[in-house]
Subunit: 241 residues, 6 copies
């Protein structure tokens, strides 16, 4: 019997976000044996489904079902579990019940790390709200008096913010570049599930290539595809590198 | 008949905060004749009472009672009044009724200054929420149309943010160092009321000594113990020094 | 038949704000044929009507009526439409219904640009709340699934933050200075409608003159009166100048 | 007789910089009738000519000659004049004589705007040094007592910082996106003059496409290729847009 | 025999700076018995004497003499001593000899506080250079091994940055407002010595009035004229206020 | 035959700096088989040798010799090599020759990482100057045309800034905490070589303990002593943790 598998948690406002911004990290850690769980807070049904609404007479439920199906396929292709909160988008309205559920997920998954949105985003208020929520739940999960259980030990995992659409406008300062070369093919194929957003396939392929070249420059080691992250808390290390 | 005594207000999320972060200022100003009132928003019953929850079968009410007793003893040793809001912690949930009460307290105490938490704290969402609340109430208290009374005159006091646990991660930029040498013994004895957090006794003793040395360097005057604060609003002065 | 007139939207917490901070821009764009609509979220009845409350026995409704009348006169003199939300001030409490109405206004007015408050203001929590609200509504207004209508096309307008009372304390960084020479007389006459705040007439006249001199220095072109704004999103241009 | 042509000045540390970072702006404004002058401070002979140094026995003069020829061809293809300062690179060492010449160029060209490097760049100290130099000369050029001439009138032009290789690490905050669709073919063909840096052809093509998509999102107007700039001084405008 | 008089040091790039930006503080502290010494690094002969250069045939020496005379009169009216370094302006070029002299002045004056320029100023490179120089000398003055003298004791004084012409563009964040009501008449009369800059008389009168009103708001105490300063180092205090 | 040993480079303004700020990292990496080389730019002879200057008649050469001896002993106890540049302190004056030597050292040592000072320090101008110098040399060392050698391959190492005396005043934002438990005894014993600065022994012991407790909180793993660092460039990683 070996050590228990490591795990990771991804808190995403809408379905596209975990694909464009963190699909490489998800697929890569799955390949390395991590259990990865995605919490998708809303279906992006109002604000990120322009194409669906072009069909006259389409209903909100139809749009949500369509986006849910896509999100499930995407999660599956990346190798991750997914849970939906159906909080509504534009604006995201997160409830106390959702917060409780989110805390339970932290405690159940016991993630080695958490991925979520940048703290600011003037283009999309759902993103910082998702980030705030993910971080609030993370802190509550470590509170001994929240559903107390003297047997449980738990410590709060590191948080990495994934890249927003327009990084400089969101005060996003990447301090980690993840080499996703091994996971790239999977990430790119997952883009194609999001069939209505073809323009973003190329956009985020370019982002991956440019972050990859930056990764090569910063490390002096060859790499092609990268994802940029901003670590929120200090890394605690046994050796500098 | 002399001038009325000066007064100060401390808005603290949890019981430990006013001790570790502002205990010196409280004791010092009490020694100088100030009336000091502490508003303690929550008992820290869920998030800051790990030791209490190690006892199997302990109830929330027992934990709260225990923390309340400690907080009362600590306030008393420092020479301050204390009022509890019992807003719940992790997360702190402040209501309209609490806001009204907080405004009344501002108007009743008429503080010369207010002490509260830093504006950011990625480790503890209750802290910035307490700070936001203290500042919102401060502004409302000066609104002529809030419980109007043409006889009353009132102006908003300066606000000093006290030091968070990991200052740089909270964007805390101290611009005031208070010499607490005279109050140190009282502050240190108050630590000992918080019997379950012995590791923090030494931590915050070291903080006080290091802030003291920085105070000495910045002023050229000998001092041993200090507390660091961040003034939110400009100081208005009659002479530079 | 010419092109439809351009339009602009102003989201103001209280009546004075759109006069002191954006009165020049409003009057100037009206002169240039813009339809300008002001949304005034509260009457400033509690926090910005000191003089009214000095009258013993005055009621909240009387104060609101008085401020509403002033605001209507001011909007009219500037040449703008005005709509009141009566959200209450100190603190401003914006509801879901108000958000829906605000989104409808965006879609109805289709503004070329939006003016609102700075994002931070430690002196007045209503101001950043108004700014947050204006920006949230702006993003929702462009969501295809919010009251979907396949016929509608809409894109989010640029946002300019107007100058707060103490700019540096609000992290206000002006990157646009608007020459309001042509509109100055109108702006100044509008000040006089706010009869109880005479000290601010001179204050904001000085602000306009100093921003005007800064505008002259930055452009090398003579101008006398200016208003400072902070553009939130990048300007997209066909030529640099 | 029409008005005199407008003009622009580009201050570039090394030959590649004005191509990758500002080639679109240069070609576009040339198309619009501007005189554009590039000042190329160094040949990038030591720090940006890896391929040249791979040839055993190559001399510094040979490398400089090769890079100069490339830079001249690139300037010519973009339609701009170019002047070399040969200040040496890694590190750039700018002299008083060069500063005097730079001031003379400002006064001779009388640019409508200036393009130069970002103010910070931890990857390349020559870039902020070039920016500092360009800005120092700009200020001196307007000093009445520098080579005084009562006939001359001159005012300092706006400065736009062009995009560094890793924008977030350089605190680069773009607030202007220039649509370079019309100039793109020229810019791209100019890349090909820099034959040894093929990997950057694709990198900066991706940058242009992604800035173009951002420009489309920010403006609601279709565009394909963009260049991002950071305006240093406030824009002074007659109308908001 | 009383205590020795207190003293203050002002390090100004050009003659106008100490008048517009710090004239109130100088006059006020002189009234309170301080010895105030101004170090004026350059005469502003090239960059801040436009009017003088309008006279055909005027020489550099004549311009410098004229500005020196003005500066002496201004210092005298404010009640301060003045020493000129004649370092040249636009750009200021400070030498090792000047640094040595500056250090000697610190040791001789033993100032209670130092006033100098803001740390950034994109409009005027001489200003941050003067600030850097003032601060470098301040640190050297306290070095035991610089012209060692075991008898001497000396500690570095607090530094206050005075207000630049366009504060937000210089990242100036005032945290001190000095009430200069008592000194205002003297400051205003000193403006009139700078006869060629009449437009600035009114500009800086407006600045003083607006800072005064801000001072009143921040303190709740009536005042009319203010000067804004940014404290560089933490204040070390015995009581909060 | 194993892989060549790893190595690290430390660029320190004065002798104390590498002990107080980086002594743990040095000793720890030596224990792990790294070659560590310290470049000590000045002896701190003027600004950091107060005690030495208390002896009447002591000469500069004597002070320097004394400090050099201490620095050699300290380096030796930590297990590192040391090279002195004797650049002079207060102010540090680094020459072109020193820069060339520094570049040669980079190429000879080929460090896996570099440790140096924070980028800002209003208390001590030598510190940011040392940091600037270390970073400039790092970039030049990778320039193919600086002492070209087609055989050489070299890429620039990551840079970690060590903790200044008053971190918040220096804009120091630690994003790495190094566990130095294994090296602590060595670090502490090295303090004792700096016999004249006993007050700093305790100060930096407290810093290490508090950074250790923060490390424990951030990681959830027990540790006692820590050193805080700020990584300048993004970490490039194969897995998030």
């Amino acid at each position: 019997m070996g050590a228990p598998a490591k795990s990771a948690l991804v808190v995403s406002a809408h379905p596209g976000d975990f694909v464009w911004r963190a699909g490489g990290a998800i697929a890569l850690h799955v390949m390395r044996g991590y259990r990865v769980k995605i919490v998708c807070l809303a279906f992006g049904e109002r604000g990120e489904s322009q194409w669906a609404w072009k069909k006259a007479g389409v209903s909100m439920d139809e749009v949500k079902a369509q986006r849910k199906e896509e999100a499930e396929k995407a999660a599956s292709m990346l190798g991750a579990e997914i849970e939906f909160f159906d909080a509504g988008d534009y604006p995201l309205r997160l409830t106390q019940t959702m917060l409780d559920r989110m805390v339970d997920i932290y405690r159940e998954v016991r993630p080695s790390f958490v991925l979520t949105h940048a703290i600011e985003d003037p283009y999309n208020g759902d993103h910082p709200e998702a980030s705030r929520f993910a971080q609030e739940a993370r802190v509550i999960a470590q509170a001994a008096g929240h559903k107390p259980d003297p047997e449980r030990s738990y410590s709060a995992p590191p948080v990495f913010l994934f890249e927003p659409h327009q990084p400089e406008q969101c005060n996003f300062r990447p301090n980690v570049i993840l080499n996703i070369d091994q996971a790239w093919e999977t990430k790119r194929r997952t883009f194609e599930i999001l069939a209505a957003q073809k323009h973003l396939w190329e956009y985020y392929t370019r982002v991956a290539l440019n972050r990859g070249m930056q990764g090569g420059r910063n490390s002096g080691r060859a790499m092609t595809y990268g994802e940029a992250y901003q670590r929120v808390f200090p890394a605690v290390v046994e050796e500098l590198s």
